[in-house]
């Protein structure tokens, strides 16, 4: 059984816009034909809402944003497993001198993916040091093309 994907905020934004990057992601990961729902960290829903306010979305689009939650599995940061993963990831990032340590929302997203045993799809290069590390399953995508970074 393969792991579900947890979509980082930027990936979710591209997917819901059906941008050229989303098309590249689908070509690589065949998400449209997946028999699983996407996982999304609760923090990303807040970031999506912030994005909608900054872009002055209209009522109809805001309603659709609110309805988006019905189609995903939300990983809440109150989950004890997520809190534990956050503490461990934060400590690792700090002791390793990774820039990831300063992105607290990124730490929560990473922790959510780890606790859910999901494969994280992200465009954030701060996650690069975790790629290939035991216990982590991550693909960092190029934000211009949507293709996996080498």
């Amino acid at each position: 059984m393969h792991a579900p994907y947890l979509l980082d905020t930027t990936v979710l934004l591209h997917w819901t816009r059906n941008s050229p990057q989303a098309q590249a992601i689908d070509a690589n990961f065949q998400l449209s034909s997946s028999a699983m729902r996407p996982l999304v960290c609760e923090v990303s829903l807040g970031e999506m809402l912030a994005f909608s306010l900054s872009r002055s979305w209209g009522t109809q689009k805001l309603r659709r944003l609110a309805e988006l939650e019905r189609h995903v599995v939300v990983v809440h940061i109150s989950d004890p497993g997520v809190r534990q993963a956050y503490a461990e990831l934060s400590t690792l990032a700090q002791s390793s001198g990774w820039s990831l340590f300063h992105g607290k929302n990124d730490l929560w997203v990473g922790a959510a993916a780890h606790a859910a045993d999901a494969h994280l799809l992200t465009m954030d290069t701060d996650f690069l040091p975790l790629r290939g590390r035991a216990g982590w399953s991550i693909t960092v995508l190029d934000d211009k093309t949507g293709l996996p970074r080498p």
């Binding site: 905020t9 816009r17 699983m36 988006l68 995903v72 990983v75 999901a118 465009m123």
Partner: protein
């Protein structure tokens, strides 16, 4: 009773594998109430679609369309990070 508690997935106590039965002391006050384990959410199970259910990814693709150019959108997404 001293031993190892085995919990159900729901978090309730299933049984105690006893090592010893001794008189309770003040240190056992914690066990006056039966402890419960934190229920662990099975995200893989939650993620699976039910039979006949439409693909969530397919439904969400283009869920929030926009008239702004790709350049503007990309810049706004980068600024979010």
């Amino acid at each position: 009773m001293e031993g190892v508690g085995v919990f159900r997935p729901s978090g309730s106590l299933l049984r105690v594998d006893a090592d010893a039965i001794v008189l309770a002391s003040s240190q056992d006050e914690f066990f006056r109430r039966v402890p419960s384990a934190a229920a662990k959410r099975d995200y893989h199970k939650l993620a699976w679609l039910k039979a006949g259910e439409k693909s969530s990814y397919a439904q969400l693709r283009g869920w929030l369309p926009s008239d702004e150019s790709d350049e503007d959108f990309n810049a706004a997404v980068v600024a979010l990070r």
